[in-house]
């Protein structure tokens, strides 16, 4: 299983596990993101900055630290 950090741009992904802290999980869930959400990585970060994923028509920037705690699997 890989984390969001290891993924290629423009690939559809499914979240299988989030191991982050309470605060960031809550924030993610409020944006609709949680286990089983289907997301697409659209921008990998410059200079260890955040990634951008697209989810349900929204683009969300996620810091590297949090991205490392989001386990995903690729959808084909």
């Amino acid at each position: 299983v890989k984390t969001l950090l290891d993924c290629q741009e423009r690939v559809d992904l499914k979240i299988v596990l989030i191991t982050g802290g309470r605060g960031s999980r809550l924030r993610l869930s409020q944006l609709g993101l949680g286990i089983d959400s289907t997301i697409r990585l659209i921008r990998n970060a410059p200079f260890s900055g955040p990634l951008v994923i697209s989810f349900d028509g929204t683009e969300i920037a996620i810091g590297k630290g949090i991205a490392a705690k989001i386990r995903v699997e690729e959808l084909r």
Partner: protein, 642 residues
């Protein structure tokens, strides 16, 4: 009637509010712009109502101070109706909040806003069946073009009369979850000693979510049995999903919302437009930074070019009037002093401040409303982390270039007190539009644009270093960034003008009269030679900085309003040709000092409010030291270089 406007960030609450209440709440394409409530009394069909524009919150589970406050207000103030504003193009994400709000048992109207955006994305909705599923009226709007807003408010009255959905909330969690909620609601009902003023079912849900505020509240009123029961149920909840209790119910709401969304939405093919691919450039790992620098530099030089073009002929005109006054009234009498100073006050506003302030605010508004600022936040996130701050701390710092007061308030979006404190300090260090006017009108005008640009860059370096220092003094790992990147929007000319006036009004109505009055007062003080003691008191400072003693008093005025510094300087020096009295080096020293020293009274007040008196005193002290130190360095550098 009391009406609350609630919704997720950037769903257009403020735009709707402004459409009915006149421009009273700053709207922009930047999630989290409104952190303070705007309130207005409006007449709806002859009925006087109180309308409250709440700051955007994603959910009623408090993840930061803003959403906590929204919840407290909603519970404490008996609202008659809630207008829930949802971005239609993100319906699936907006509905979970709708579901939470419905549990408050207050009549609701759902406003499906930004229909143009949704259409552009190829989405269309079966509004009737959505209204049916939710059991509340649903109204489509395009608030930015004032389409459908009137109908929303017509419906509001209806809703308050009929108390529509309250008795028949049709949205249900899955059976097993409903059972748990039912159990816990029963337990809440049985508990007689409870002092929480929310509907039992709402409380039950929040307890299941392990909401620490309600849990604490209940523990205080000493009903351990209730908490114990909630904890037990949470375990079962946790087993059925892989989510912890606080997000398990949120995810249930999300999936329920997604289900509804699928049923009522038809997705066609999205129309391509100018937004397509723009972020590939503006958020690109290399080009993004280059464009950012180009845009910011373009903004700087553009504003300066416009300002100079307007300032120069206006100042010449005013100098001519001054000469005429001197010829007719004689150069000595008190009458001439009064007339001359009133003229300085007027010309300071028209010829010096407004030529820069207006284009500066227009450009800032455009960048804000197009939605560029979140991109800047994205690009600078790793820098912010290197400084030791939360990525979103860039938001208040960017807003600081407009005005320190809303910038300090915007720190509320940050999750920890430590991040809020540091961001507030940094946001006050950034030159606000008033200080920018000083940089443009004094430094750029007399010494050239690059000299002013130098101070901006010096400021950025100081901000970064200060941030680094403060964050290592208060070490703590900042949680990473989770930020919505909004779609680009083209602002309408009307919105830009409204917003411009909203921001200018303070200058025109308060600062400018103060400018004229201050100028006259300073004239009289000088005429009577009373300025000597004040300047004498400040002379240790002015002497150290190598400035004429006469500028001392202008610094006092600057604490009232930063723009005053520039006009009062001209006043105190007795000429509009600053370089005939000050050397270029002295101008630089003065400008550097003014950029960093003590925040203005309005900012001090808001800092006191947000950080407390002690921290504010520290901020004032630090900025004074910082300003003095940097001004000294500038003096040294100028002595060597010039």
């Amino acid at each position: 009637m009391k009406i609350a406007m609630v919704g997720q960030p950037n769903s257009g609450k403020s735009t709707i509010f402004n459409a009915v209440a006149g421009y009273k709440s700053i709207s922009s394409n930047f999630p989290g712009t409104t952190v303070r409530y705007a309130e207005s009394t409006v007449r709806l069909n002859g009925l006087v109502s109180d309308l409250v524009d709440f700051p955007g919150c994603y959910s009623l589970s408090p993840s930061n101070e803003v959403s906590l406050e929204v919840r407290d207000q909603l519970i404490a103030t008996g609202f008659d109706v809630i207008i829930d504003v949802v971005d239609a193009s993100k319906l699936g994400r907006g509905l979970p909040l709708t579901m939470e709000l419905m549990e408050l048992n207050i009549p609701m109207v759902l406003c499906l806003n930004m229909m143009d955006d949704a259409r552009q994305k190829g989405m269309s909705f079966d509004i009737n069946s959505l209204a049916n599923m939710l059991g509340i009226p649903v109204l489509p709007t395009i608030a930015s073009r004032d389409i459908g807003v009137k109908r929303v408010f017509a419906q509001v009255q209806d809703a308050s009369n009929h108390n529509n959905h309250v008795t028949k909330s049709r949205l249900r969690y899955p059976e097993d979850v409903e059972e748990m909620i039912g159990d816990l609601t029963q337990a809440v009902n049985d508990e007689r000693t409870l002092t929480v003023s929310v509907p039992p079912r709402f409380l039950a849900i929040k307890l299941l979510e392990d909401d620490k505020y309600f849990v604490q509240n209940i523990q205080q009123s000493n009903s351990g049995a209730l908490i114990k029961k909630a904890r037990q149920l949470q375990h079962t909840l946790g087993v059925s999903g892989r989510e912890p209790p606080e997000t398990a119910l949120a995810m249930e709401r999300n999936s329920l919302a997604t289900g509804i969304c699928h049923k009522v939405t038809t997705i066609g093919s999205p129309r391509k437009d100018w937004r397509e691919g723009l972020d590939d450039l503006l958020m690109h790992r290399a080009w993004g930074y280059i464009f950012m620098l180009l845009i910011l530099a373009g903004m700087f030089y553009g504003v300066f070019a416009i300002g100079v073009t307007i300032e120069t002929p206006l100042l010449e005109g005013f100098t001519r009037i001054e000469g005429y006054l001197g010829d007719t009234m004689g150069n000595k009498g008190i009458l001439f002093v009064l007339a001359k100073n009133a003229l300085y006050g007027i010309s300071g506003g028209v010829a010096i401040v407004l030529p820069y302030l207006v284009p500066f605010l227009v450009v800032l508004t455009i960048l804000e409303d197009i939605g560029y600022l979140p991109r800047v936040a994205y690009l600078l996130d790793s820098l912010m982390h290197r400084v030791g701050l939360h990525g979103c701390a860039i938001v208040p710092i960017l807003l600081g270039y407009g005005c320190s007061v809303p910038a300090v308030m915007a720190t509320r979006i940050l999750p920890t007190q430590r991040d809020r404190t540091i961001a507030a300090v940094l946001a006050t260090l950034v030159p606000c539009s008033a200080r920018s006017v000083v940089l443009y009108g004094l430094v750029a005008y007399f010494l050239g644009a690059s000299a002013a640009l130098f101070i901006y860059i010096l400021n950025i370096i100081v901000v970064v270093l200060t941030g680094k220092m403060l964050s290592s003094l208060m070490p703590e790992v900042s949680p990473g960034m989770i930020m919505e990147v909004p779609r680009y929007q083209l602002p309408t000319v009307q919105t830009i003008l409204h917003k411009l006036w909203f921001r200018l009004r303070e200058f025109v109505v308060i600062a400018w009269p103060l400018l004229i009055l201050g100028s006259i007062v300073l004239g009289i003080v000088e005429f009577l030679n009373w300025d000597a003691p004040v300047n004498g008191m400040l002379s240790p400072l002015t002497m150290v900085l190598g400035l004429p003693a006469a500028v001392g008093i202008t610094l006092i005025f600057g604490v009232l309003r930063k723009e005053l510094v520039l006009v009062m300087l001209i006043q105190a020096l007795g000429t509009q040709d600053v370089l005939s009295v000050l050397t270029p080096g002295q101008v630089m020293v003065f400008a550097v000092f003014v950029t960093f020293y003590v925040p203005c009274v309005a900012t001090i007040a808001i800092l006191r409010n947000e950080l407390g008196a002690r921290a504010t005193t520290v901020v004032v002290g630090i900025t004074l030291l910082l300003a003095t130190g940097l001004a000294l360095l500038t003096r040294l550098a100028c002595a060597i270089l010039w």
